[in-house]
Symmetry: C2
Subunit: 332 residues, 2 copies
């Protein structure tokens, strides 16, 4: 399993992205930040999903290429606006757009990228049997990724978020764009509704599994993953781990005071000081949530592949499986 | 000429807007600000243009109604983001979204409105003879309105903006959305390319005339128009009046020192203290720019109607003319 198999797809995406960006250069005040954002790199997972989904249903991936670039534009639109909302200073090791330029440039760069994405999307859509299905997948993706970001932000103001609400949030914020990426590729490739749905289910479940695994790695992982362990606990992020742990502690009539205090303090202060991280991780182990989360990740991943296998075997379908496994192994 | 003739169109727009907003309620954190924005009212000029353009080419306006709402959503998306960028506290007499809630809510409300707009647009587009032309007009409108806003912001950092650049800016920032509104209506109504173009030219020229007249009213008008006279001069806005006046002063070898100083100070300080407003207005009269601007407004308006009259006379075309005249008379 290697990235070599995916290299031609990545090369296609980078080439088409480069051409697309060259269509938009003036006013430089607006497009320099857009250019900068893409020069920062990125794994281009979503556009590669679009191309593979198209091929996996028998389509010609060159036809899906503009749509693939549209998907990457939409993804980066969410990043540039989320970075403002989260006051993030760095992205892919470089200053974020609102730091390098200013907030107005970052708002407007995100906005225009959506227009650029729509224009590119149409170039693929008009080859699709049902062009408006392509646009529909895109607009639904855009709406739901906003819904997901709003839920994420709203969760920070609440101490009663349930683990079920967490799934709704990551499904919208993280999984929906992966789902949209394959839905667009499959529609452009002329897939039947059944195969579009199978690919959607595959991508959505991989997205949920990936995000949950990300949350687990935050407490078990090392600096190798680019984060300090326990960062989510410090920042007060409402992860499934924390929410499920809080529920179990609250329902436990014999809960230790140290545990009830940690939980209450986490929500009241939107995070805990770094010195409490180990106590929280140990509490999560005591209540079995880390093990349960790991089991859920495995279940979601297996379910994802079961849905993928509803599409008859072919080289592109195999590559979708390769890509998903690389994602879950954090090797892409 | 009265608003009574346009009342049925306004009622259609308000009804469809209300229904559309009711489709999107959760998460409230996201959609309450959207709802609030529309409760603030608005003249709904753009969606009425869409309906009238559709009817003027023989289309059924009910088919264009979702697209008309999409156009109003796009317009309000620009307002909510522009209000952040311009640090405006009030809009239509009420707190702006970023003041009433916070900046993150305002960014995200704008973003999701674009997704809502796309979804509504498709409901009309699939009735159009060339559905993708409808989407194309929309995405181009979105891109160019961002280009226009970027130019407007970039102008504030420059002292060498030309009067020609001003036209490019208002064409994109103000006129393009009016042009898009009629283009979408005409396309949904099944217009020939020639008639789409005639309506586009009409709306673009009215948009330019309207914006120039707005700039003139800022220096000649009264508080009745909701602005303190000379507000643009105080804020350092690069209007055609100021740019053309600056050009004439700079080219005048015998210019009075008071004039050269006013011009230099305007650009160097991005605006002048209110006590200098009368001197600037008097300078504009001396150099004949106010009269020339008024003549240009008349020329653009007449040109606009000449283009409109390329569409054969019918009641909806007459109403487009009524609406344009009301706009120019500030009576709508």
């Amino acid at each position: 399993m290697s990235t070599a198999l995916l290299a031609p797809y990545l090369a296609d995406v980078e080439g088409a992205l480069h051409s697309a960006l060259n269509e938009f250069t003036e006013p430089a005040w607006l497009y320099d930040p857009v250019q900068y954002l893409f020069e920062g790199g990125g794994k281009r997972i979503r556009p590669i999903l679009t191309l593979l989904a198209c091929e996996s249903v028998g389509g010609d991936r060159s036809v899906a290429l503009p749509a693939a670039v549209a998907v990457e534009l939409l993804h980066n639109f969410t990043l540039v606006h989320d970075d403002i909302m989260d006051s993030s200073d760095k992205r892919r090791g470089r200053d974020t757009v609102h730091v390098r330029w200013n907030q107005n440039a970052a708002i407007l760069a995100g906005d225009v990228m959506m227009g650029m994405a729509m224009r590119l999307l149409m170039r693929s859509a008009h080859h699709a049997p049902r062009p408006l299905d392509v646009i529909d997948a895109f607009s639904t993706g855009l709406i739901e990724v906003c819904d997901g970001q709003a839920l994420d932000l709203a969760f920070m103001e609440r101490d009663d978020v349930t683990p079920e609400e967490y799934f709704t949030m990551i499904e919208k914020k993280t999984a929906r764009l992966l789902e949209m990426s394959v839905a667009i590729g499959a529609n452009v490739g002329g897939a039947t509704n059944g195969r579009v749905q199978a690919l959607r289910d595959f991508a959505r479940l991989i997205g949920i599994a990936f995000q949950m695994q990300d949350d687990i790695l935050d407490i078990t992982g090392s600096e190798a993953f680019g984060k300090s362990p326990g960062g989510d606990i410090v920042e007060g992020k409402r992860t499934w781990l924390m929410l499920e742990c809080a529920r179990r502690v609250r329902e436990d009539l014999n809960a230790q005071e140290v545990h009830t205090t940690l939980v209450a303090s986490f929500f009241a202060n939107n995070g805990l000081a770094r010195e409490h991280v180990n106590a929280v991780i140990s509490m999560m182990d005591t209540y079995g949530v880390t093990a349960d989360a790991t089991a859920l990740v495995e279940k979601f991943t297996n379910d994802a592949f079961a849905h993928l296998h509803l599409v008859p075997q072919n080289p592109a379908r195999d590559l979708l499986e390769v890509l998903a496994k690389m994602l879950m192994a954090r090797s892409v």
